[in-house]
């Protein structure tokens, strides 16, 4: 029985799709069967980042409406054979997603895959709430700046109220993924520091992905960051984050910085 992860943020443009692809590819390279699902109906991007945009025939909405079977819509990645993509529709919009349809699709995916990673759209409406509905684990992607932090806080509140886990009275496992982090700007005070973000959001830290030009290069190539250049700084950070998702306890470090200064991040937990 697979685990469902939702990659969400509230704010747009913080790195949800990039992170979904990178984490999915990292987990798949370990041998696990992974499917990444794009919930951003009408504004799909996950297929571009995965490099599968020219192979999309059927999509999530087709499967929900019964026009296609799940196996017809799933696209296998050419580089890692345990990695699959379920794209979103570009011509429809979020109103075509039904709760029962999404229930069916996720249940079927859970039976086949070890990890079902749902790439949530930005916002707090239907698309986002449907993407998080079945999640066992939530990865909240946040940039270290005030509007992103406030929106992430809102999303965390929704994770505790609009999901099946919340309805059953269980706690959802939430992790913070801090993306586009620039240590120099944080030092100058232009960006929030890691401890400030953690103090406001109070959820455990999954990883810190530094701002990097490799991310844009990878998406232009149509490859997740962890496949395009596995030795780049953001890719290493994503690999570590994937290991933490799988249950390993690793100290969070800032790649490229001296380990000693950030020793205090060892096993960092919520405030």
């Amino acid at each position: 029985m697979g685990k469902v992860i939702v990659v969400t943020s509230g704010k747009g443009g913080v790195g949800k799709t990039t992170s979904t692809a990178a984490l999915g590819a990292a987990l798949a390279q370990n041998g696990d069967k992974v499917v990444v699902v794009d919930f951003d109906v009408g504004l799909r991007n996950l297929d571009l980042v995965m490099g599968a945009e020219r192979r999309v025939v059927y999509d999530l909405v087709n499967v929900i409406q019964g026009d296609a079977k799940l196996t017809q819509a799933l696209i296998r990645d050419k580089r890692v054979d345990t990695l699959f993509l379920l794209p979103a529709s570009q011509t429809r919009d979020k109103d075509n997603l039904t709760t029962e349809g999404v229930d069916r699709v996720i249940t079927e995916l859970k039976r086949v895959f070890d990890w079902v990673i749902c790439d949530s759209p930005a916002g707090i409406e239907r698309g986002a709430t449907l993407a998080m509905r079945h999640a066992d684990i939530a990865v909240v992607v946040t940039n270290p700046e005030v509007s992103s932090v406030r929106d992430s806080d809102r999303i965390i509140g929704l994770l505790d109220s609009k999901t099946l886990k919340a309805e059953r009275g269980e706690r959802m496992e939430k992790h913070l993924l801090l993306t586009r982090y620039d240590p120099a700007r944080a030092q100058r005070g232009d960006m929030l520091k890691v401890e400030d973000v953690l103090e406001i959001l109070s959820i455990p830290l999954l990883g810190i992905i530094p701002e990097s030009m490799d991310v844009l290069r990878a998406s232009n190539l149509g490859a997740p960051v962890t496949l395009a250049d596995a030795r780049s700084v953001p890719a290493l950070a994503y690999f570590e984050a994937a290991r933490r998702l799988a249950g390993e306890v690793l100290p969070v470090t800032m790649p490229g910085e001296k380990r000693g200064i950030f020793g205090k991040f060892f096993g960092r937990k919520a405030a």
Binding site: R150, R154, S202
Partner: protein, 249 residues
């Protein structure tokens, strides 16, 4: 004659207040239902006294005459119907209770808890005549404790008493209490204490970064607060018509 419009310096105070109403959902045929109601009334005397009663007729196929007869039958039994829920527009008319909607369900215990108190009191006063008549029990001052941070967009409303939050109140969140508000964390959102007219309510927090503070309707925004208090542990209270703030040690 010239009319002088006097401007009253004190504006009219409009407050919100929530009352717990008992909702009766009768089933057809009404005579059988009324018999069962009589049975209930016999077992718990005075259940409906001083309680607002809402009649829920959603889904019932009745006409105005039948509804009027039911209301009359209830009035005979000392059940005063305050308003009617779920009625078709056509069956309500002048002289009948008004329509109401938008009620939120409440746990059944909350409704049944109080009559038990009244019943015991009735029994006490009946059995021991020398005992001084106990004043009608006001619900004991309750307090709500929340052990996790209040997230942006969440609203904590507790008109019954004090609210204690072990955690922070995020920007964009609000806490509204009938009593005082105690925050063991940072207050970055809005805190409104004494919301039902309690001028002695206070607000305490470990780190003041609030967007808005209000006590008994008098409010202060972030801009109006002393900059030296920002980020400090602060207690706020009302003195006359002004909010006074002082750092806590």
């Amino acid at each position: 004659m010239t009319k002088v419009l006097t401007s009253d310096a004190r504006s009219i105070r409009i407050k919100g207040r929530s009352f717990l109403a008992v909702v009766l959902s009768p089933d057809l045929p009404f005579d059988d239902w009324l018999t069962r109601l009589d049975d209930l009334a016999a077992r718990s005397a005075g259940f409906f006294l001083a309680r607002p009663v809402v009649l829920d007729v959603t889904g019932l196929k009745i006409e105005q005459a039948e509804l009027k007869a039911l209301i009359a039958a209830l009035t005979e039994r000392n059940v005063s119907v305050m308003s009617i829920e779920g009625a078709r527009h056509s069956i309500l008319g002048p002289g009948m209770p008004p329509a109401i909607k938008g009620g939120r369900p409440v746990s059944d215990e909350a409704v049944t808890r109080e009559p038990a108190v009244e019943q015991r009191q009735a029994a006490e006063t009946a059995s021991a005549d020398e005992k001084p008549v106990t004043a009608e029990a006001r619900p004991a001052l309750q307090s709500l404790i929340i052990r996790e941070p209040v997230r942006s967009g969440q609203s904590v409303m507790f008109p019954e008493g004090d609210v204690t939050i072990i955690g922070s109140v995020a920007s964009g969140a609000e806490v509204i209490a009938g009593g005082s508000i105690h925050i063991y964390g940072a207050l970055r959102g809005r805190a409104m204490a004494g919301s039902l007219g309690n001028a002695s309510a206070q607000i305490f927090c470990r780190k003041l970064e609030a967007e808005l503070i209000a006590i008994d309707g008098i409010y202060k925004m972030a801009d109006d607060m002393e900059p030296s208090l920002h980020g400090q542990p602060v207690q706020l209270w009302l003195q006359g018509e002004t909010i006074i703030a002082e750092t806590l040690i």
